[in-house]
């Protein structure tokens, strides 16, 4: 009845288990292998085809007038400008534009799919008294779903702002990147005969004058939170540094040393300001701690050190120095206090601007009698010219998403502000509106909350 262990049988028993396991594995492998994966890469540079029919005046159309057309214009401008969209020609639209089809259940998506649209924007507007209500929706034509539906309320004058905001949301939902259409530009204008500081939308509309002291006001710059600006003004006789809070209108003097207090740039943390002071003789770079109001000297040489620009991590500052004879761009590492020279070519390199992505520095370089905007890596390599045949191009400033550079150009009689794609793949677009206006020294705001 009981057998002694036969080595062969013992092997056999465990072999059984192994064999069953192997079989199970075989069956499992067969089942799992039923699915094949196919890789698809590089969606390429194709743009997303979007249809934007005219907005529909649901109520108060007679008083809205041109505003209805403006709504579409702003959307088309912003989305075109983002570089992500191919806005389909209105002439190709099949749907009767007089039909008030504004919701998912009303829209006939086949009408839009057949003309090649992937996404569709439809909106209606109501004007009651001075109150404006905009209902606007973004549809996925392919899956026939509403991606975004928004209702904005405001006054009649808010129409551009409302459309900018919707364009921002469209870009973010379809590309995953924040839109820049609500960002603003600070600049200096001499339109009144004095150099005053102004503010406008990123597209040059909605200009507002900030300083009105009939003196000389220069180098406006944004705080990292977008709530305040700092600038240098001669309104008290000397070039002192002032801060202006945009939402409260509060103004304060923050640096009033003997000599110059110029070229200030806010640190990314918002706690410090780098600037040039000449209180100790020749112009040197300092860092001002806003809370303690203490100044820390950065450079100490016989040259002129100006135009600081912080890296996004706040650990380095690029600046201009003529210590080697001609003005060139240098970099200081604030932790190690080590200095590196970045540019060697050219007779005059000026106004460095560190990109928000941290990988590039834009600057103005004097070529054959004119300045042009260039972009380089943060170690000075891969210098690429961005502007051509636009007269003197100076004072580059980056859009907060790092895709665009704004600058002042003297292509026409008066200096004007232009925007160009930072990779150069675009025609520069003039932002300044009107030929008789002078605008220079732009500063692009951070993202607006």
């Amino acid at each position: 009845m009981i057998r002694f262990v036969n080595p062969k049988n013992a092997v056999t028993f465990f072999g059984n288990i192994v064999a069953v396991l192997i079989l199970l594995e075989v069956l499992f492998a067969l089942d799992a292998s039923a699915k094949v994966y196919i890789d698809i890469n590089s969606p390429g540079s194709r743009k997303l085809p979007i249809a934007i029919p005219d907005m529909i005046a649901v109520e108060g159309g007679d008083r809205l007038g041109q505003s209805v057309a403006t709504m579409r214009e702003v959307l088309v401008q912003d989305l075109t400008y983002s570089g992500f969209f191919d806005i389909l020609d209105k002439k190709a639209y099949i749907e009767d534009s007089s039909l008030m089809r504004l919701t998912e259940s009303e829209v006939n998506f086949k009408d839009w799919r057949v003309i090649g649209a992937d996404v569709l924007i439809k909106g209606g507007v109501v004007l009651r008294g001075d109150d404006l209500i905009v209902d606007i929706r973004l549809f996925d034509v392919i899956t026939e779903k509403t991606i975004l539906g928004q209702r904005y309320k405001g006054k009649k004058d808010d129409i551009r702002r409302i459309m900018h905001r919707f364009a921002n949301e469209v870009v973010e939902l379809l590309t995953g990147e924040k839109g820049i259409f609500e960002t603003k530009l600070l600049f200096v204008s001499e339109s009144t005969g004095n150099k005053e500081i102004y503010l406008s939308d990123y597209d040059g509309y909605n200009v507002k004058q900030i300083t009105q002291n009939k003196s000389i006001n220069v180098s406006p710059i944004w705080s990292p939170d977008g709530n305040s600006i700092i600038y240098t003004s001669y309104k008290e006789g000397q070039p002192y540094l002032y801060m202006f809070e945009l939402y409260t209108g509060k103004e304060s003097r923050i640096s009033s040393h003997n000599g110059i207090n110029i070229g200030a740039r806010w640190s990314p943390s918002g706690k410090e300001i780098a600037l040039t002071l000449s209180k100790d003789g020749n112009p040197e770079l300092y860092i001002l701690n806003i809370e303690t109001k203490e100044f820390r000297r950065l450079t100490n040489n016989f040259g002129i050190d100006v135009s600081p620009s912080w890296s996004p991590d706040g650990k380095r500052i690029a600046f201009v120095s003529d210590i080697a004879g001609n003005p060139h761009i240098y970099m200081v590492n604030l932790e190690l206090m080590s200095f590196t020279r970045l540019t060697y070519d050219g007779r005059y390199n000026a106004s460095p601007a560190w990109s928000p992505r941290g990988d590039k520095i834009a600057f103005a370089k004097l070529g054959e009698n004119v300045f042009n905007i260039w972009v380089m890596n943060t170690d000075g390599t891969e210098q690429t010219q961005l502007t051509y045949d636009l007269g003197n191009c100076e004072n580059p400033t980056w859009s907060p998403n790092g895709r665009y550079v704004a600058f002042a150009s003297t292509k026409e009689r008066n200096s004007a502000i232009y925007i160009i794609r930072a990779d150069g793949g675009d025609v520069p677009k003039k932002v300044t509106r009107g030929d008789r206006v002078t605008q220079k020294n732009p500063s692009w705001s951070p993202f607006q909350k």
Binding site: I2, R3, N9, A19, I38, I40, N41, P43, D140
Partner: protein
């Protein structure tokens, strides 16, 4: 013993002791038998065969279940596996008849692909290499087809050949079309048809890929390390039965672009004739700059 006799009248107690002793013995017996697998307790003969063959002929473990099945069924799956070869016999012939068309399609696809790559000015050498490897396969298939036509015996021999299941076991479930095709859909069929089915399926996957790629639009070039997997169920006629988000990239914008691409590309070409099931399940992996594992 006397004590026991003396208490003879106490029968229940005696039975209890006796039972306990018996139980102990039975337990020991069972225990030993488990440790020493005598045939009596864990017999099945057929299992012994599997194992011995696996040890003695480790290179063809798959053939054994087929033989074993006749003695006694171990479980349903083994039966199923064992029956596969007979089921597939007509397919073997069918595929051979279709093979020229398949090769032509596959070649056309490849030529198209190469033309596109030319425009993009990518490496010329890579293309030549691909072409060469493909013509090699074509030649090989033609040779094999000739043999098959001339000699019926050859075909029979092929059919009799032991199914190469081991190849399937090792088949990678993640197949990249760019790489050497390893096609899991081909089951227990001969080596000749295996190659042709490979071609047929490669051509089909290429069609799928090109169809979806041509519809995919995601304009934001700054987004890189992302992967979205869309699972598809495709009917025999090529209709999209079902699609689902198998893996999200974390970016709804990117996920939705992939969904739109699939929806726009549907319906797809009909499934290859050699495909057996009612629908094919495929995963499409969308990546901006190449799909690498772990992203």
């Amino acid at each position: 013993m006397y004590y026991l006799y003396d208490k003879w009248d106490n029968i229940p107690q005696f039975i209890a002791i006796s039972t306990a002793l018996h139980l102990l013995i039975i337990f020991i017996v069972i225990y030993l038998s488990i440790m020493t697998p005598a045939k009596r307790f864990i017999t099945p003969v057929y299992i012994v065969d599997i194992f011995e063959s696996a040890i003695e002929k480790p290179k063809k473990p798959v053939t054994e279940p087929v033989q074993i099945k006749k003695t006694e069924p171990v479980s349903q799956p083994i039966d199923k596996v064992a029956e596969e070869p007979t089921k597939k016999e007509p397919d073997v012939i069918k595929v051979e008849q279709d093979k020229k068309v398949d090769v032509d399609i596959a070649l056309k696809m490849l030529e198209e692909k190469i033309r596109r790559e030319d425009e993009k000015e990518t490496s010329i050498q890579k293309k030549i290499k691909e072409l060469e490897s493909f013509t090699n396969i074509q030649q090989k298939v033609e040779e094999l087809a000739k043999k098959a036509e001339k000699k019926d015996t050859a075909v029979k021999k092929i059919e009799k050949k032991e199914p190469d299941v081991k190849k399937q076991i090792s088949a990678e479930p993640h197949v990249k079309i760019d790489a050497e095709p390893v096609l899991p859909m081909t089951r227990l069929v001969g080596k000749v048809s295996q190659e042709m089915i490979d071609l047929e399926f490669k051509a089909y996957y290429l069609k799928l890929r090109e169809g979806i790629y041509s519809k995919w639009i995601f304009p934001n070039d700054s987004k890189k390390d992302m992967m979205t997997i869309i699972g598809l169920k495709i009917s025999r006629a090529g209709n999209l039965i079902e699609r689902y988000l198998e893996r999200s990239s974390g970016s709804p914008a990117f996920d939705n672009s992939a969904v739109r691409a699939v929806e726009k590309a549907a319906p797809f070409p009909p499934l290859p004739d050699s495909f057996q099931d009612e629908f094919m399940e495929v995963g499409i992996r969308f990546c901006p700059y190449g799909c690498t594992e772990g992203k």
